[in-house]
Symmetry: C2
Amino acid sequence: MKLSTRGRYALRAMIDLVQNQYNNLMPISLRDISKRQEISRQYLEQLFNKLKKADLVKSTRGAGGGYLLAKEANKINAGDIIRAVEGPIVLADCILTGRKIKKSTPKKCNKVEDCAIRVLLELITQKINQTLDTTSLQDLGRITQNIKKEQKDER
Amino acid sequence: MKLSTRGRYALRAMIDLVQNQYNNLMPISLRDISKRQEISRQYLEQLFNKLKKADLVKSTRGAGGGYLLAKEANKINAGDIIRAVEGPIVLADCILTGRKIKKSTPKKCNKVEDCAIRVLLELITQKINQTLDTTSLQDLGRITQNIKKEQKDER
DNA sequence: TAAATAATATAATTTTTCAGTAAAGTCAAA
DNA sequence: TTTGACTTTACTGAAAAATTATATTATTTA
């Protein structure tokens, strides 16, 4: 049970965007994010594709172009970001499809025991989404800011 | 973000154990569980190895042998079972190790942005464990029982 | 006590997913 | 018209997960 790097990288990139924006006026290029976050440009491209489709960022092309937040940082939450790049959070396939367990051997989930497990997993999924949806990008930005400050003060 | 089959199978096997026990007197063989749950015997062996080490089941060898619950079903919870076969629930490696992100390229998690993400993931992990630890095997057994009953009534 | 049963332990194999890379193309602004 | 940036698709290698295989040891029962 892990959050894949896709989700983590997307969060990181979005936090980077908030931190480096000047009132969301100057587009930020993937090249810059790539450098700061040490994530390959091509990989970022994949992620921002999805972030854009989910209306979380907007882009301007050409020289001096790049990405901007599509909404205010307090209107974007962690759940939006993660679901944009990873799809909906599903702890077991039968929850979404209702049935299938595997792709290769599309066996039905016909064990009643599974249904009890499904009840449990659905409950957990709810809790996860609840937490993700009550944490805004602004929150994440502030936390980051505070950590940076602390690190500075220590020196 | 998925619960692996290991965890799901272990839950299923344990529910099977509760459902088919006669006051926990007659050991249940993996062969029977394997048949009922359609999980290969060898795979079950791996799982029960860990369940035993975690003191959730006890075993007797030889003919007529098999597994029994090591404690009462209301003293065993879903979290015990899942953690027994999957290890602790960790949504990102840096949470456990404090630092490392990957094994192969042991790069440090030196981005402050990650720390904000860690705060979020730790919160979620707490919630997950909370839910898992408040759902007993007895609960799961009852839910299963109810579902079986409903299915019967429908006919 | 031999045969059958069932757990224990480890190793090997297969399958699937993930992470990252590459390439070729499109579009917009300076 | 050229640069810089976004778009899209395909591919590859590595790691993790799932499954299978092979012995071995311990009990019971006929």
